[in-house]
Symmetry: C3
Subunit: 358 residues, 3 copies
C-alpha cells in the first residue's frame, strides 16, 4: 500500500531480525476478555477433563472464586498475542524458559500482554538470527498472571543490519520456592470422587513412567480452530496455498496445541495434578501435521515440597509428546536425546495435593 | 507405571467385565458446570434450531427461568461422564431403556453422575459379557435431571472370573403418566411465529411418516469436537492410529452425536416438539463414519395425554437415522427389522402443545 | 407426510417463486439470544482480532456497555434466520443492497427477524425468478439492529403461476449521513496500543490498495460449523450426498463466511476500522469450496465525514475476496469486472477514528 505508516504501527509484513533491539518493548494488540465460551471450546478442542476447570462447585470448595481458566488456555491465548509482533516471521520456535503461572485467571478477566527483547544473536549465515524475549500477561487489575521467556529464529530483511549480539541469562528452572500457590487454596477439597483417583503427591516417585492410554488424531480443522481461538496469526498453521512452498509442503500444527493435547491425555494417570506451576524448559522436537495421532508419556523427575504448605506439593515431570506410536512401544529417551516419534519434550512442574496423615 | 494405585482409583486401562459386580456403584469423575459456551457449541455442531433453547425471551414466556439446556446436550454430557468407568472397554453399546428427562438444566448448573451395576451376564465365548447399569445425573442441589439404563458388551481380562449372572428387569417403556412436565410450563407461549409451524399435538396421528428434508455430512472434526465436548473418552472415536487395527480400520462416530443430528434435522416437521420426555429404547443399528451423510425419518407411533394437562401432550415417535440415502427412498422398516442404511432406531416421546379449543 | 398442515406453517420443502407475493411478510422462526459462546466460536471460526469485540475493558472505555457482538456475526445470524423461508430453494444469491448496521448488539440480546417481499420477476425460462426482500433484525426491545435488502434466484414449482412482475427501487448506496454512530462513542479510546496501529481515517486516501498478508484455508468442518452456528439451513452447505447431483458435485461454502474471513484477514492494515456502518452492495462473484485458501485485498474508494462528529469518520472500501492467489499477484480489477480468482466483491463503509489536532 502507498499511504504512510505511523511509527507506532506494526508493519503489515511483521517485524524482522533487525527490528529486535535489546530492551525494545512490544505492547501486543488485542487485549482479550476470556469467557465461558473460550473454556467450552477448549474442552471441545482438547478433551480436557480436569474437574477444577469444569465444576464451579468444586472450584469454590477449593477456595477459588469460580472455575479458573485452564493454565494452558491462558498460556496459548497469551502466547498468541505475541505472535504478530515476535514470531510472525519466525523460522522456528526454539525454546521456552522460566514460564511461571501466577494469579489464576477467571472468565471475565481481560488479559493484556507485552514482551521485552532480552537478547539477540545473528546466525553465521547472515540471513537470520535468534531473538530472545521475556513476555508477561496481566489481568485488568495489572496483576501478572503469566510470565515466560522464549527464543525464536527470525529472518533478517535483505540488506538490513542485525543488532549487536546480546546473549541473555536464561533460567534452567523455576525454583519450587518461587511457585505461586494461592493462599486460599484448599487442596483437600479435590476429593477422589471428583477426579476418579486417590493417587496424590505421596504416591509418585522419581523414575515413575506413565504411558497414558489415550490417543488423539488431529484434523486440519481442529488445530486451526484452536490456533484461531488463541488469535495466533502465524501463517504456517492456516495457509495451505502458501505452505506448498515450504519444506513440508503443508500446514504445521501449532506446538502449543500439542502441549494442550498431551496435558488433556495425561489426565488418566495424573488426575489430581490440578495446576501447572511452571514450565522449566522445553522444545518442539519434531513437527506435527494434521493426520498425526498424538500420545503422551510422562516421567516423574522430582517430588518437591512447596514452602509453607504440607497439604500440597509439586511434581516435576517430563512430558513426551509422541506421534503415531503407542507410547508403551517407545524406548526410554535420555535427557536431550531425540527420537523421531517424539514431537514434544517439556520439563515442567504441577501442583498436586499431599496426603494428610493426622 | 510402577507406583501403587489406591483402591479407589480408576485403573488407567479402565474396568473389565469382572469388575462389574451387581450393586457396585461408580461415582463418575469430572462434575461439569454447563455454560452458554456449551450451548453455542451444541448449535454449531448439530445445527439445532428449537427456539426454546435459543431465545431467553421465549423460554421465560414459557415459564422457564432461562433457556433450558437442550435435552440431548444434557444426555450426551451425562453419558460421557459414564464412559471412562462403564464403557472404556466396551465392544459394543447394545441398548438404552428407561431414559427419563426430569428437572430442566440451565447454564450454570453443575451435573454429577453415578452408575449402579444392575446386571451382568458372561457371553458363551467366555471372553466378554454384557453389563447392565442404571445411571443418574443430578444437579448441584442433588435433584435428578436425567436417569437411564443401558447395557454394553465389555471385554473380560484374560484369566479373570466373571461375576455370577444377574439379569435385570428392563422397562419396555416409560409410561406417559411418569413424564416430567414442569408445573410452571406455559406451552401456549410457543407461538407459531417462533417455530414457523402451527402444527400441534392434535395434528399428528399414529402412522404419520415424516421424511425430514435436510441432510448432514459428518466430518472427522465434527464428531470429535462433539464427543470431546461431552468428555466422552472412548478411544474408537479419536484414535485413527489405533483404529487401523479394528474391523472397520477407521474411527467410528459416537452414536449420541447421530441422535443429536437426527433431532436437529427433524426440526423441519416437528417444530413444536419442544422437549424430550423419555427414550423408551433404542439401538445403534449400524456404524456411522466420517463422510457419511445423515438423514432422518420419523414415524408417529402414538399420541398420548399427559396427566393433569390439557394444554400439552406427548407424541411417541420412532426415529430412524438413515445414512447416504434420501429417506423418501427408504422403504417402510418394520419394528425390529434392519436395513443397511438405517444407523439409528429410537423409540421415544416428545412433549408438544395441544390446541386449545375455547 | 400425510397429515394436514395449517396455513401458517412453513412447508417442509420450503417456499417457491409463486409463494413470494409482493408485500407478503415472513416472520422468521427461532429468535436467538446471542451469547459469549457465540462470540468465542466466531473468533475460533474466523480468527477475528478486532479488540472492540475482544476486550470488555476497551469496549467500556469506548462508551459501549460491554463488548458489542461483531457486526458480521450479527449479520450472519440474522441472515441465517431468513434462509428457511427466503432462500431454501434459492438457485443463487444474487446481491445485497442497503445493509445498515444500527443499534449495537450485546451478549444477552435476543434477535428476531422478518422479511417483506418488495419485488419479484419471473425469468424468461419460466422455471425460476428473482425475489427481492427487505429484511430487518430487532432486539428484545424491538429496536432495529440491522436492516438489509437482498435478491435471490428461486425455483418455481412446476405448473405454478408466478406473481406479476414488480421491480423494486434498490438503493445504490447508504448515504454517510445515514450511518448509525452511537452518541456515546468515544473513538479516541481506541488507543494504538490496543490495535497495534496508529493509522486512522486521516491516513487513508482514495485509491489506496491494501493486500492483506494472511491467508485462510477453509476445511469442510470449518464452514459447516460456522453456517450451523448461524442456523442457516441451506442444504448446499451441508449435504455432500445431495451435492453429488449439483454442477460442482460438492458442497459450497456459505458466502457470508467468506465475508467474515476477509474482514478478519483485513485486520492487518485496517486495525482501527472498529465497526461496519453499511454495506452498499456486493456479490459472491465465484463459488468457494473446502480446500480453497482465501486472501483479501481492500481498495479505499472514499473518505467520508460523519455528521456532527469530528472524532470519527468513515472509509468506503471495496473488499475483494481472492482464492488460491496471493493478492499481490492480482491485477487491478475494474468496477464490475470479473476475475476467476475473485470470489467476493463488496462495497461497504467502516467507521474509524479521526486524528484530533488540538
Amino acid at each position: 500500500m502507498t499511504a504512510p505508516w505511523a511509527e507506532s504501527s506494526r508493519p503489515l509484513e511483521g517485524y524482522f531480525l533487525e527490528d529486535f533491539a535489546v530492551d525494545r518493548v512490544f505492547r501486543h494488540a488485542t487485549p482479550r476478555t476470556v469467557t465461558p465460551g473460550d473454556a467450552s471450546l477448549y474442552i471441545a478442542l482438547t478433551g480436557a477433563r480436569a474437574p477444577l476447570h469444569c465444576s464451579e462447585v468444586l472450584a469454590r470448595s477449593m477456595g477459588y472464586r469460580a472455575c479458573p481458566v485452564d493454565d494452558l488456555l491462558v498460556f496459548n491465548i497469551a502466547f498468541g498475542k505475541t505472535v504478530p509482533d515476535i514470531s510472525y516471521n519466525a523460522i522456528a520456535n526454539l525454546g521456552y524458559a522460566d514460564v511461571r503461572f501466577r494469579e489464576p485467571v477467571y472468565a471475565g478477566d481481560t488479559l493484556s500482554c507485552e514482551s521485552r527483547v532480552i537478547g539477540v544473536k545473528e546466525n553465521s549465515n547472515g540471513k537470520s538470527g535468534v531473538v530472545y524475549v521475556s513476555s508477561t500477561a496481566v489481568n485488568q487489575h495489572g496483576t501478572e498472571v503469566l510470565g515466560w521467556d522464549r527464543w525464536v529464529m527470525v529472518a533478517r530483511r535483505e540488506g538490513a543490519t542485525a543488532p549487536a549480539t546480546v546473549l541473555p541469562p536464561l533460567a534452567d528452572e523455576v525454583a519450587a520456592s518461587d511457585f505461586h500457590v494461592p493462599r486460599f487454596l484448599q487442596p483437600a477439597a479435590l476429593d477422589p470422587e471428583f477426579t476418579g483417583s486417590s493417587r496424590l503427591w505421596d504416591d509418585y516417585a522419581p523414575g515413575d513412567v506413565i504411558d497414558h492410554p489415550g490417543g488423539m488424531t488431529i484434523e486440519e480443522s481442529d488445530h486451526m480452530l484452536a490456533t484461531r481461538l488463541y488469535q495466533n496469526t502465524a501463517r504456517i498453521h492456516f495457509d495451505a496455498h502458501l505452505a506448498q512452498g515450504n519444506q513440508f509442503k503443508r500446514r504445521l500444527v501449532y506446538g502449543g496445541h500439542v502441549i494442550s493435547l498431551c496435558r488433556a491425555l495425561s489426565y488418566d494417570g495424573l488426575e489430581n495434578a490440578f495446576a501447572i506451576a511452571a514450565i522449566h524448559g522445553g522444545a518442539h522436537a519434531n513437527p506435527t501435521f494434521a493426520g498425526d495421532t498424538i500420545y503422551c508419556r510422562h516421567v516423574v523427575t522430582a517430588r518437591e515440597a512447596v514452602p509453607k504448605r504440607r497439604d500440597v506439593g509439586a511434581l516435576r515431570l517430563r512430558m513426551l509428546g509422541v506421534k503415531n506410536l503407542d507410547p508403551r512401544a517407545l524406548p526410554a529417551v535420555g535427557e536431550g536425546e531425540k527420537h523421531p516419534a517424539v514431537v514434544l519434550d517439556l520439563d515442567y512442574s504441577v501442583l498436586i495435593p499431599r496426603r494428610q496423615n493426622p
